[in-house]
Subunit: 323 residues, 2 copies
């Protein structure tokens, strides 16, 4: 596994008062692409740096990260175990991502969303009893202590975006993206703070409310700068923009407007979006730009992938009436 | 719609006695990728050159070409009608590709596989009655007269492969690919004949027997050279290598061995293959190389895409017992 040079940046039709572009991280050529390819790479290289030899990952049945980590572990010969929340019987909710995790014959420990820590303990115990020294992607049993690692991926990617600008001879005023775990947004923000440039980064939240999500992103940025041994610019917190106005009821929920935006983007721009992450974010971006009266700007949408979720939604998209 | 610079070429693990590489045409950044992106581009530019203003396409529910043409027509504002064979009620066999065609709200005329010509007539009549001058991708009502156009795509792509070799500093002795309509193989062969090089191009047939398929590829090459006003090298027919030993019963049929190769390639090389085209071809390639005793060669597998078919097969791949 390695992250390839650079993903394409393409202009989009239908930008209205602004010029819209998309960065196709969904086309990263590993495990069906997406931002999690870069993030998994950051976790696995941290695992190796720390001398660990097995991986414990955490997510739900729709998790793109678990799909990519399962691929990467198999390719690298690293034993891997998944702690899967929110679905008491992992096999009951079949999604593209859960099927791919099955394809990799990953051992799954199911747990309730409020009982992750004991499931992580159980995962450690199982792997240790087999003689492994496991690495948990989110740090300790409470999911703390590894906030800076995931941010590395998009801190590096931010420099790729600056290089894209140079190649294309234009400047992006805004970068929009789906914000879930906060790893992508922390990374982009870290890159932005290191570059000390004028770009505005807007995460469209797909799950958390603004306050909680912003706190997590702030900690991610802090941890990254700490890991780098760098001081943070004063007042950096004020620049974190996480918009929670388009949650459509919460994680994994969506409505007819979101489906219609996905149909439209696939039809007009050939973009495969999904209702859990990228479709919700694209919808939020268009609403945000209108509400804030943004005009005449160059706006980059970072396509963070999740192709299996586009295919999960395809029956709804194609056959569904105007829901 | 436009075809982007160059698709990645990546080394594959598990090549055995040879060094295996893959060219990721599945990552062409339009309409979920695949060889049909290049081929659709060739058809649509021919349509425009001929001054036509509506498109009639032909395929079945699994057709990748119809999916891409539906995308391209919608993006370009060209009215498009599909003649769909092999499935009396198009809506009965739901596949990823047929759902995407529905998503584009394409008008479909269903017909039996032995009654395509009258359905094409009907499609012409409908579009003409609305004031359009339609273009049928395969020429006349019998599907003849446009053999050279589709070959253009991979004749051009062959030059891209030569450029890939230059960049990578290596020489491919073989190119393997799934051979269905013959358009890709005719094009690669035309490129090879124009370059007058030593490469061996092997199509693994996914539907036709050797004799019939070879005849169609030969006519494609002839038509391409005629369109270019060039003379064909004598004895070129002998170089056409279409292997029909791995049909697994015919078009769309597959067995447990093919599924196992698909699982293996996804696990080891993160390649999404499908049982109708690319998985069958990859399976055939590995068998062919062993049977012919090929050793120490650089072998390129052209990944011709068809991602929706990978997702169609995913339940079988993940949940199926050793079929």
């Amino acid at each position: 596994m390695r992250v390839y040079e650079s993903t394409p940046v393409m202009p989009l039709l239908g930008g209205g008062d602004n010029r819209l572009f998309v960065k196709r991280d969904d086309l990263l050529p590993f495990s069906l692409g997406g931002n999690k390819v870069r993030i998994a790479e950051a976790f696995l290289s941290d695992m190796k740096e720390k001398g660990k030899n097995a991986l414990i990952m955490y997510g739900n049945s729709r998790s793109n990260l678990c799909r990519v980590l399962a691929s990467a572990c198999r390719a690298d010969g690293v034993p891997c175990l998944m702690v899967c929340s929110g679905d008491p019987d992992h096999t009951s909710l079949k999604t593209g991502n859960s099927r791919i995790v099955s394809l990799f014959e990953v051992e799954v420990i199911s747990c309730a969303k409020n009982a992750i820590a004991p499931a992580v303990d159980e995962a450690f115990a199982r792997l240790e009893s087999r003689g492994y020294d496991p690495y948990y992607i989110y740090g300790n049993r409470l999911g703390e202590g590894n906030e800076g690692t995931a941010a590395r991926a998009y801190a590096a990617s931010y420099r790729e975006i600056l290089e894209d600008e140079r190649k294309l001879g234009l400047h992006f005023d805004y970068i929009f993206h789906a914000s879930g775990t906060g790893a992508t947004q922390s990374g982009l923000m870290a890159g932005h703070l290191l570059a000390a440039d004028e770009k505005k980064i807007v995460g469209i939240s797909v799950s958390r409310d603004r306050e909680r999500g912003t706190g997590i992103i702030r900690e991610g940025i802090r941890a990254y700068f700490r890991d780098c041994g760098l001081a943070l610019p004063e007042g950096f917190e004020k620049e974190i923009e996480l918009c929670d106005s388009y949650l459509a009821g919460g994680y994994g929920k969506y409505d007819g407007e979101i489906l219609e935006v996905i149909r439209e983007q696939f039809r007009v721009n050939s973009l495969p979006l999904d209702p859990t992450y990228t479709g919700k974010a694209f919808f939020g971006m268009t609403k945000y730009l209108r509400r804030m009266g943004v005009k005449g700007k160059n706006v980059l949408f970072l396509h963070t992938g999740g192709l299996p979720l586009f295919f999960d939604a395809l029956p709804d998209l194609a056959d569904g009436k105007e829901k």
